[in-house]
């Protein structure tokens, strides 16, 4: 990989108001620093507590480069631990979701641990007599990550023991988490249907930039929306069933996109107003009934009137509130990013709604999606281009300087749908995380 020749990492020199240096995407040194200063500090999405409903359940994942495990103990409490045995260092929980009978047992020398990581038992106990080993000493227990927050089942963790509170961190997009759950008649959601895993040959930030990018669909997704339209015209007299409608949406004209609103917030978060109107078919009506019965008609209408496309919770995840999708972004290396896509059941809603959620995800988020494949290809092309010496700067000029403070409910900054506001906003947060002197503190990101 060719890297540009900045003498040392000078963070201030990498980010301008309307463009960023290519080293942000291709440099190993920048990536290492991101692992330390962004993924070592920020609140990172770990998982949903419905993945570990019972005591003894666990779910393993990554926070930056750290292998961690989310667990549930007998009291029902959720913990996030480094997945490492304090004895020889072996990972204790196997990858994925699983269950142990009350105790973790290291596969190497059978040390056992409570679900909160506390060391319970060590074989050959007599051999430790007269040594400095102490079963009560926390350094012989599995280490907990710095801080854990569980908001309506969504579990976030920060490796750092001190820093911005989760409440301040999430403030701008908290309404998206609320709407995600409020759409359920029972007020809760649960992970359902398995996990899609897609590897991208590109930097993690490329994917974040794409999530609220309205400039690309008409160009990148031409093959899929043309294919859908061709079928519709040839076989259905122009009619668009649900699956084709989703694909066709990417071919909307520029005015459609610029008429959407983009809202940006502190810490790199943002969301975009919806591309799709809520469908009005018998299933949607049955779902509305179930919501209205639980919450009253007015409240139900209010909940469904919050209709958003991707919300970005920088730097680790992106919920889609109206189709119950949740994408998790795991940087692997400067040019590899793992994206995991979860689907949620709205507890208390008709089961057919979940089936429609699966149909949506099969079309849009599956590794076999005829839509996503062109995205992933273009991200890889960006990465390859950025590795060349063909230019050092990446443009974020569209509608720069035109964003306005938003006076409505969530505050923040608003821009037209075609603005590159979310990207500039992500790099403002990136710059702050990455600058030694100016780590984000409460109320101090000034976007």
């Amino acid at each position: 990989m060719t890297q540009a020749t900045l003498p040392l990492i000078d963070i201030d020199a990498l980010v301008r108001d309307d463009e960023v240096h290519r080293d942000c995407y291709v440099s190993n040194e920048v990536f290492d620093l991101e692992m330390e200063r962004i993924f070592g500090q920020a609140w990172v999405y770990v998982g949903h507590d419905s993945q570990i409903p019972d005591a003894g359940d666990y779910w393993t994942t990554l926070i930056g480069r750290e292998s961690v495990v989310m667990t549930r103990d007998k009291q029902g409490e959720v913990h996030v631990l480094y997945n490492r045995c304090p004895h020889k260092g072996a990972r204790i929980a196997p990858e994925g979701c699983g269950h142990v009978k009350g105790l973790f047992r290291c596969p190497y020398h059978a040390w056992t641990f409570n679900m909160d990581g506390q060391l319970r038992g060590v074989p050959y106990r007599e051999g430790y007599e007269g040594t400095s080993f102490d079963i009560e000493d926390p350094r012989f227990s599995m280490r907990k990550v710095g801080r854990v927050a569980n908001y309506r089942g969504f579990v976030f963790a920060s490796l750092a023991e001190e820093g911005v509170s989760f409440e301040s961190f999430i403030a701008g997009v908290k309404s998206s988490l609320d709407n995600f759950c409020d759409r359920a008649p029972n007020g809760t959601v649960s992970v359902a249907g398995g996990v899609f895993r897609v590897m991208q040959r590109s930097n993690w930030k490329v994917f974040f930039e794409n999530l609220n990018d309205t400039g690309h669909p008409i160009a990148t997704h031409e093959s899929s929306y043309r294919a859908a339209r061709q079928y519709s015209n040839e076989k259905l007299g122009g009619e668009m069933p649900f699956q084709l409608h989703i694909i066709d949406g990417n071919g909307a004209p520029p005015k459609f996109w610029s008429d959407l609103d983009l809202h940006a917030f502190d810490y790199g978060h943002s969301y975009m107003t919806a591309i799709f109107k809520a469908p009005d078919d018998p299933l949607s009506q049955a779902y509305f009934q179930s919501l209205a019965e639980a919450k009253g008609e007015e409240t139900a209408k209010e909940i469904l009137s919050v209709n958003r496309h991707n919300t970005i919770i920088y730097p680790s995840c992106s919920p889609h509130t109206s189709f119950q999708q949740w994408r998790v972004i795991r940087p692997i290396s400067p040019d590899r990013t793992l994206v995991e896509i979860f689907t949620f059941r709205l507890d208390g809603a008709p089961e057919e709604l979940l089936q429609r959620t699966f149909i949506y995800s099969n079309v849009v988020n599956s590794p076999s999606s005829i839509v996503m494949t062109d995205d992933v290809h273009v991200y890889a092309e960006c990465q390859k281009g950025l590795e060349t010496q063909g230019g050092d700067w990446v443009s974020q000029h569209r509608n720069a300087g035109q964003d306005q403070p938003y006076e409505g409910a969530d505050g923040g900054v608003i821009g037209v749908g075609s603005s590159e506001l979310p990207i500039r906003n992500q790099f403002r947060a990136w710059h702050q995380y990455m600058s030694d002197a100016a780590r984000p503190a409460d109320g101090d990101t000034g976007s």
């Binding site: 249907g193 897609v198 899929s224 294919a227 089936q355 099969n362 590794p367 005829i370 062109d374 890889a380």
Partner: protein, 167 residues
């Protein structure tokens, strides 16, 4: 008149083997329309996400496509601006271990298991997908038709780069 099973019920092993080979051959030759025509009108192409997945409706699938979605996929594969198809995917399938698992002569229906490997070359290089096929075939006047083709990848729950062509 060779292979396991009695041809008395009309299901001839060699015919079934030839049919599976032909199906794979059409995919490798990118004769997608002819391939799609091998399905019954309601025929489904299904690549489950989970091991032993019970059904395609109450769980995510890597692919669950009817005639419409298969045709849209085919339309896209042919489009000049299918960016990720530059260069076009080239594939080679091998189908083996063909076993007739269930026979329903009254319905003219037979369930056939087999193993496959598919090598694919495209922009990111060469990769191999492997797994088990389960073909739900119906025998009619003009030969076999596919009521369902189920593709159980051995790494279905693993990490994928995009899958664009039919497996």
């Amino acid at each position: 008149m060779t292979g396991p099973g009695s041809p008395a019920d009309g299901f001839v092993y060699d015919d079934i083997r030839d049919f599976l080979n032909l199906e794979a051959r059409l995919l490798d030759q990118r004769k997608f329309d002819e391939w799609n025509a091998l399905f019954t009108p309601e025929g489904m192409y299904w690549v489950p996400l989970a091991d032993q997945q019970a059904d395609p409706v109450n769980h995510l699938s890597l692919v669950y496509e009817d005639a419409m979605m298969r045709e849209v996929r085919i339309n896209r594969l042919r489009h000049d601006r299918a960016w990720s198809q530059q260069p076009r995917s080239r594939t080679a399938h091998s189908v083996s271990c063909i076993v007739i698992e269930e026979r329903y002569p009254d319905e003219g229906r037979v369930v056939v298991g087999s193993s496959f490997m598919m090598s694919e070359w495209r922009s990111f290089g060469l990769r191999t997908l492997a797994g088990l096929y389960t073909h739900d075939l119906v025998l009619s006047g003009d030969g076999y038709r596919i009521a369902q083709k189920r593709v159980d990848l051995i790494d279905s729950e693993g990490v994928f780069e995009p899958i664009e062509v039919f497996i």
